[in-house]
Symmetry: C2
Subunit: 342 residues, 2 copies
């Protein structure tokens, strides 16, 4: 049973196809009786315009891609959720592309999305793919980058002030008296990782600590990676640190797990600070002190900007959200006695 086309409707209504098109789109005045007949025919046949034909004609697909390292990462999931929320308001479909933080897959999706001629792409890169690669891949499409900035790329960017966020939390742990801190950073190729590191170092300097003196290892922003990275930190030479600055919450969770298996009490023996404020952060034991980024808002903003840009309207080159310190219980003043609440 073939689905009816505009021809079938026109035939049944006894009018031309252009007339049908015009009544359906309201593109031109059509007499009331003709409209009625057309609508009746549409109803009778259960006609629905063929979106594919429409897309060809309009040279628009009413879909945009979202390239993201991993939807299972709660932070990315929240960004994705915000993106979708905004797109839905305009009946635009979201093509979800998870790269697993693999450069090959990121390139694959960039290419696939371009070949498919989606109307635009939101990039949340997780691979540090160089700007040159990305911008040729994205060439011709409207693109906006979110969260993770790719230096040297000219597209609009939506993010939050990672440097300031990192500084805030580092200052917080230092203000609690910690002098022996260690850093568990993100993938060095990533801009956010670099920014957060810079923020930590700023805070250290302010407190009179030599940044190059603090142990620092690079993680991969994932739970298991955080777990193994924290091992090298804990097994490293010198005294064990009293506080850990971890560049994202997922790795902080890994660190927490490692501490648990080693029997290191958090925060009594070791304070741990995270970044992102994913939903899990609040339900951990102990609840994680971290930095909140408005992930959903960022997703929404990115989608909004992309949509505006697709429409040809001018958009901001840079949209910056504030990052906010969230103090919970995983960071404690040094030497402070544990207080059992029950």
């Amino acid at each position: 049973m073939r689905r009816p086309t505009i021809h079938d409707v026109a035939h049944e209504a006894g009018v031309s196809i252009s007339t049908v098109s015009h009544v359906l789109n309201g593109t031109r005045p059509i007499s009331a009786e003709t409209q009625a007949r057309v609508r009746a025919a549409v109803e009778a046949q259960g006609y629905e315009p063929n979106a594919r034909a429409r897309q060809l004609k309009a040279d628009r697909s009413f879909a945009v891609g979202l390239v993201v390292p991993d939807v299972m990462n709660p932070f990315f999931a929240e960004v994705a959720s915000g993106v979708e929320e905004e797109l839905r308001r305009q009946d635009v479909l979201l093509a979800l592309c998870s790269t697993g933080a693999q450069a090959g897959r990121e390139a694959y999706y960039a290419q696939l999305l371009r070949h498919r001629r989606v109307d635009g792409v939101i990039f949340l890169s997780g691979t540090g793919l160089p700007a040159a690669e990305l911008s040729t891949l994205a060439e011709g499409e409207s693109v906006v980058f979110v969260d993770e900035r790719v230096p040297g790329v000219e597209a609009p960017f939506v993010g939050s002030d990672n440097r300031r966020g990192a500084r805030l939390i580092a200052e917080h742990v230092l203000s609690q008296g910690h002098r022996k801190v260690a850093i568990l950073g993100g993938p060095p190729a990533l801009w956010t990782a670099e920014q957060r590191l810079a923020g930590y170092r700023e805070a250290l300097l302010t407190r009179g600590l030599e940044p190059d003196g603090v142990p620092c290892v690079a993680g991969d922003y994932e739970r298991e990676g955080g777990r193994v990275a924290v091992r090298t930190l804990l097994d490293g030479p010198g005294d064990r640190p009293t506080a850990l600055l971890v560049a994202n919450d997922l790795m902080a969770i890994g660190a927490l797990q490692e501490c648990r298996t080693r029997g290191i009490a958090v925060p009594d023996e070791l304070s741990i600070a995270g970044y992102d404020d994913i939903p899990e952060a609040a339900i951990l034991t102990p609840p994680l002190t971290t930095v909140r980024q408005p992930a959903r808002e960022m997703g929404r903003a990115a989608a909004h900007i992309l949509l505006e840009r697709i429409e040809g309207r001018p958009v901001p080159r840079l949209t910056d959200f504030p990052a906010e310190l969230v103090v919970r219980e995983s960071v404690r003043a040094i030497g402070e006695e544990e207080v059992r609440s029950v």
Copy 2:
């Protein structure tokens, strides 16, 4: 700068457009020299076939929709991840649709996806939308349901044995000596909720308990919902239960939080059993005893079946994965003394 079309390439190579098409698709033998000239022209112009035109002609969009209550729910995120993984192997795009478990949005997306003529839809319903609604909405599309079964619908279904899973975990807590148990169920309209409830009751009967005698409230499968639901359970008449059967992990987390604020020790004073084995389950304090569903596999299978069905090949009506008991620390034998491991 207009993107080149097949005409431009044909012109530059001095051949007809059909020749270009045939060399690009290998649809017909073309002499080596002609091929070379065409490829050179393609290269020179940076030609890329217009997917929209191709889709119109082929009457395929090479995209499928995934309707899901909420990507931020880790279980659904994992299913989505599996779906995407499978689709990627065939260069099929995934349109992500989050309904927020709202029937209106579920209907909206079903309609949008049909209007957009995606090649198929994977439904993970979260609203208990009646079969009649859904099947008309999905009419004409290839559809497969995953995880959440909609009774009375004829489409292929991929799920896991919720009833057995629930029975397993209920038997586990009962085997630990608990007699005063309470049930925190899922949304009554949902099939999984009903199945899990049935499984719990089976186990209760086996152990000689009267199912109607155990307190039972309905939750919404979400964290906050679990939290408030557990309140009514804890504040209910009669003795406080010693064990809670919670129909999914998210609600179990909510229950855990509520217990923490009330100062109820888990599992010492109250055992809690979950369902789904989301990644968070393992990192909670205490780690959650729960039932594992192979979410990623289910997603993969659903995508595979959908793809097969789109190709017109026969597919199984029912694909059932096993559910598996995961014993961790949130359920403890009754009366057993707490043993501090450190």
